[in-house]
């Protein structure tokens, strides 16, 4: 018995893949891991709860949002553009990493994670948050609440929450244009 497949064309981290034949019902995280050798996204709960697996969907309206890749079928991403954890740091023409993103650097500087399993999800979530604040800055007094609300659904079992949240808060406060003075 052959497995039914569907063609998938997707742009990941700026590079176009496909069309590739993906077994029907395969979730995006499995396509990333098994077919595209992008193994940085983490499979945690497999139920869309822990958010370790989120990828960034770059929508046509120039907004970005997190999508849990463990419960989202590959077909959802057909014709779409996404970023995975492999695409967050800055690379040169040869594909070598030349600089971490401010979020990644802050997580390292502040020892935000221990085992690191949830970190790709936190990096992507914080990246999406910062991109949102570029479009719609929040008052400085609301930064902590904004960070907490944006990262709340991400689970870290080493309980790195405080250092994750502090790191993201500090990046936001240090980056011009993400905050405004008053309501």
């Amino acid at each position: 018995m052959s497995v039914a497949t569907r063609p998938l064309t997707v742009t990941i981290n700026g590079r176009r893949h496909g069309p590739i034949d993906v077994p029907e019902g395969m979730m995006m995280i499995d396509v990333l891991h098994e077919m595209l050798n992008l193994t940085g996204s983490r499979l945690g709960c497999g139920q869309g709860m822990c958010h370790a697996c989120v990828v960034i969907w770059d929508r046509d309206d120039r907004t970005s949002e997190e999508v849990p890749s463990c419960i989202t079928g590959a077909g959802f991403f057909d014709g779409k553009r996404i970023r995975t954890i492999e695409g967050i740091a800055q690379r040169n023409d040869k594909g070598e990493i030349v600089a971490l993103s401010p979020v990644q650097q802050a997580f390292l500087d502040q020892f935000s994670f221990q085992c690191g399993y949830c970190t790709p999800g936190f990096v992507n979530a914080a990246t999406v948050l910062i991109e949102r604040l570029k479009r719609a800055p929040v008052p400085r007094a609301q930064v902590e609440a904004t960070v907490a609300a944006a990262l709340e659904k991400h689970i870290c079992r080493c309980t790195g929450y405080v250092r994750y949240y502090q790191a993201v808060r500090d990046v936001i406060l240090a980056t011009p244009g993400l905050t405004r003075d008053a309501a």
Binding site: G48, C70, I71, G73, F76
Partner: protein, 425 residues
């Protein structure tokens, strides 16, 4: 719409006229409006058994669902109920003498349940389901009274009702009661067994199931000729729970007992307003009472549960590349499974799901758009949140997905239109 609105106003004006006349007559003939305020705080000496029985009955009557606000003290009131006529706030029924019912006698309490009249003589609005509680026995009312009077008194002031004219005239309820307050609600199934009789009391009276599941008329009255046939009081509709309605969606007595006792059955999980009903009320019912409820809902001779109609292979093949199936594979199959079987104890099955088998697609569309929050269930069960997909599905895609689900696993027609989705956004 114009006709409906005109009709509604004609009815309201007629009701007000009727009410004014009746109120005058009532005033002249009976001392219905005896005003009682002040008075001593009541001291109730009830045996432990009576209090325990009162607690059980208060749970069966689900008093806490409304008389406890989210994160509020138990029975201290405050839950807002938005109606088409304005907002009504559930009151504090702890025994605080000033903010609660601490000065109420058992007689006062009985009158509130049975007649819809407050201790001060003012009419209650039927957001308080005295229309159902009227059938409560005096002994049961006294036991519930004994239970609530030994709760911790809470100093939580009641909030004023915010109703529009003419509904803000409480006297108007006298006329409304004459028209719509009945001593007993008609049976929705055929039966005579002791379990059926007990079930009728639990469903029609204590459980006041009809207050949500029975369609309401223009002035908020239950349309008893269509009792329990389902109604959308809020965003999520209470489904048809008549014997025919239940059987057409595959419900059996066993499934109903599981659903009411645990909130989970093969047919789906309790969500929206039914979830608190399970948690606060029905999960506490004894096995015997759960059986009685199921017996009454389905009748002494339950209609056979309708099997899901088999779909011809040709139709399945034709649907393989349909827009609805492509959306299902993209957004739903990760949890609900390629074959719609769900994940045991974690994700409900789509196959034979009660919501998919409803003729009215409303609840299915609302669930797809809004998602369903994570909830805990009895026996330490819990279901994770289902995300809403309103920003990922266009009206057309959502309609196609709803139709795929209805036809494939609900035995329903694929007649959902994009306009039906748009109307619920």
């Amino acid at each position: 719409m114009t006709v409906g609105r005109a009709g509604r106003w004609a009815l309201i004006i007629a009701a007000v006229v009727v009410v004014a006349g009746l109120a005058a007559a009532a005033l002249a003939t009976r001392n219905l409006l005896s005003s009682k305020s002040g008075g001593p705080a009541q001291v109730v000496n009830a045996s432990r058994d009576v209090v325990a029985r009162g607690k059980y009955l208060a749970e069966a009557a689900d008093c806490a669902a409304c008389h406890t606000a989210p994160d509020g003290a138990p029975f201290a009131g405050g839950l807002p109920m938005a109606t088409g006529f304005g907002t009504i706030y559930a009151t504090n029924i702890t025994p605080d003498p000033d903010d609660g019912i601490g000065r109420w006698s058992a007689e006062d309490f009985w009158r509130a349940l049975h007649d819809g009249v407050r201790r001060d003589g003012q009419q209650l609005y039927p957001a308080m389901p005295y229309t159902s509680y009227r059938g409560i026995t005096r002994g049961d009312a006294d036991a519930i009274y004994a239970y609530v009077m030994q709760l911790r008194p809470m100093k939580v002031a009641n909030r004023k009702t915010e109703l529009n004219f003419p509904f803000n005239i409480r006297l108007g309820m006298l006329g409304w009661n004459l028209l719509f307050l009945h001593d007993s609600l008609r049976a929705v199934s055929a039966g005579s067994s002791p379990a059926w009789q007990r079930g009728r009391y639990l469903v029609n009276v204590l459980g006041h199931c009809g207050e949500c599941h029975t369609p309401r008329g223009m002035v908020g009255n239950m349309e008893l000729s269509r009792a329990l046939t389902g109604f959308a009081l809020g965003r999520v509709a209470a489904p048809d729970i008549t014997p025919t309605g239940l059987a057409s969606r595959g419900w059996t007595a066993t499934a109903l007992r599981a659903f009411l006792g645990r909130g989970l059955a093969r047919q789906g999980s309790a969500f929206s307003d039914m979830h608190p009903v399970i948690m606060l009320s029905t999960q506490n019912l004894t096995a015997e009472d759960l059986n009685s409820v199921a017996t009454y809902l389905l009748g002494d001779s339950p209609p056979p549960a309708a099997p899901l109609p088999a779909i011809p292979p040709a139709e399945i093949a034709a649907a393989a590349n349909s827009a609805g199936r492509i959306s299902y594979l993209a957004l739903c199959a990760g949890c609900h499974g390629l074959e719609g079987n769900g994940v045991p104890n974690t994700v409900v099955a789509m196959r034979s799901n009660s919501t998919l088998r409803l003729a009215d697609p409303r609840n299915l569309i609302v669930a797809m758009l809004d998602g369903i929050g994570a909830e805990n269930f009895p026996h330490r069960q819990s279901m994770p949140a289902m995300p809403g997909f309103s920003d990922k599905l266009s009206d057309g895609e959502a309609a196609a997905l709803a139709n795929y689900l209805r036809v494939t696993w609900g035995g329903q027609k694929g007649d959902v239109t994009p306009a039906a989705v748009r109307a619920l956004r």
